[in-house]
Symmetry: C2
Subunit: 227 residues, 2 copies
């Protein structure tokens, strides 16, 4: 009865919405924060160890959260680490969007992407360690990054910038070369990172069908500032 | 006294050698077999799980050996897994030598290497899973495989087959593309593996400086039989 009454009274309805929504929002927000704390801790551990051998207990301790609460968010350790990699890939994609916006030339986008990644090793080491260790296993998934690379390649083919017949293997070559570049940056700090990234971008543009002169010129263009 | 006597008697010396050497050999052989059983078990587990989270206990159980005996051979789990990856890389290198011997053309060697690898996914899945998951972390090390790739590239440059100025980044691109191809083979069984490998080889040869026609022709040459 009371309920029916309420339902017909817009003022009561409004009052109920305005009191319950914030508390639901607060609950949802806290829930999201807890989930994100687990993800952040898993990312850190992944970056430090390079593998997924840490226990949920260890991740929970790092997040300063109770062990049991992880099961409100993740069914297994695998799911938690997958969420950590997805989170890193999304952050990486956003960083690209932010820094490379305004670049229309597909060739320049590819080159700038590699060169930017090499620089991020210095400024965002945790993020790039995750990509170094786990990026490869996501290049043929439906992750944002693989789709983005495929889209850029298709635009390049449509505009005549690239000449490739099999975009899937081109994505494989690009998606394998990126963690290989990160591996080089982390494992061989003696190698000049900017130069290596430009040189790699240049030969990858050749691979995609750019002329040698063109590939060289595009790979040397000024890079947007990272700061 | 007795010892001095012996030392001056070649017949006694010979007799001693001929009795002690086999027992030392037997000891060494058993020791090597035990080590190899640990390595083999670690390889299997690495291939199955894709990571190094298994405990030494688990590896020992798989090898049907006592947990403690691992410490006669490996100081840590990391050392054991490293030995497993090195073992796989060596087997991979030997398989290359075996199947690609007689090929002098550097471009054909690169193409055949990629195409052979794609086929080995079917016939040697355990070996190729290890390379899929762990190959990347060894491409800038002094491992046999990286050195081999560098040597092939340098021969290609010397003979005018390849035009690259920075062999280190070319090794990165090749060494990253190989696990990416394996990832594609394992993660996307719907994709034609032979065709993907040939297409990838073709664009990688372009990257190394081969003309498009040349790259296409080389990537389609008959492949040595695997059996």
């Amino acid at each position: 009865m009371y309920q029916n009454c309420d339902a017909e009274d817009p003022a009561v309805e409004l009052a109920r919405t305005s009191t319950s929504a914030p508390s639901r929002n607060r609950f949802e927000r806290r829930r999201a924060e807890t989930r994100q704390a687990f993800v952040r801790a898993a990312r850190q551990i992944l970056a430090e160890t390079g593998d997924t051998s840490a226990s949920i207990q260890t991740i929970a301790e790092r997040a300063d959260l109770g062990f049991g609460s992880s099961y409100n968010h993740f069914e297994s350790k695998t799911e938690l680490f997958d969420a950590a990699v997805t989170d890193a890939l999304e952050e990486f994609g956003k960083t690209f969007d932010e820094h490379l916006k305004g670049i229309d030339d597909s060739a320049q986008l590819v080159a700038a992407g590699f060169r930017l990644s090499a620089r991020l090793v210095g400024s965002r080491p945790e993020l790039m360690q995750v990509l170094r260790h786990r990026g490869l296993s996501h290049i043929h998934s439906d992750s944002g990054l693989a789709q983005r690379a495929l889209r850029d390649l298709e635009v390049g083919v449509a505009t005549g910038r690239f000449t490739i017949t099999d975009p899937t293997v081109a994505v494989a070559a690009l998606g394998g070369s990126l963690p290989a570049l990160l591996e080089l940056r982390f494992a061989r700090p003696d190698v000049d990172g900017d130069e290596a990234a430009s040189n790699l971008a240049e030969i990858l543009l050749r691979m995609l069908g750019a002329s040698w002169e063109d590939a060289h010129e595009v790979a040397q263009r000024p890079l947007p500032d990272l700061d």
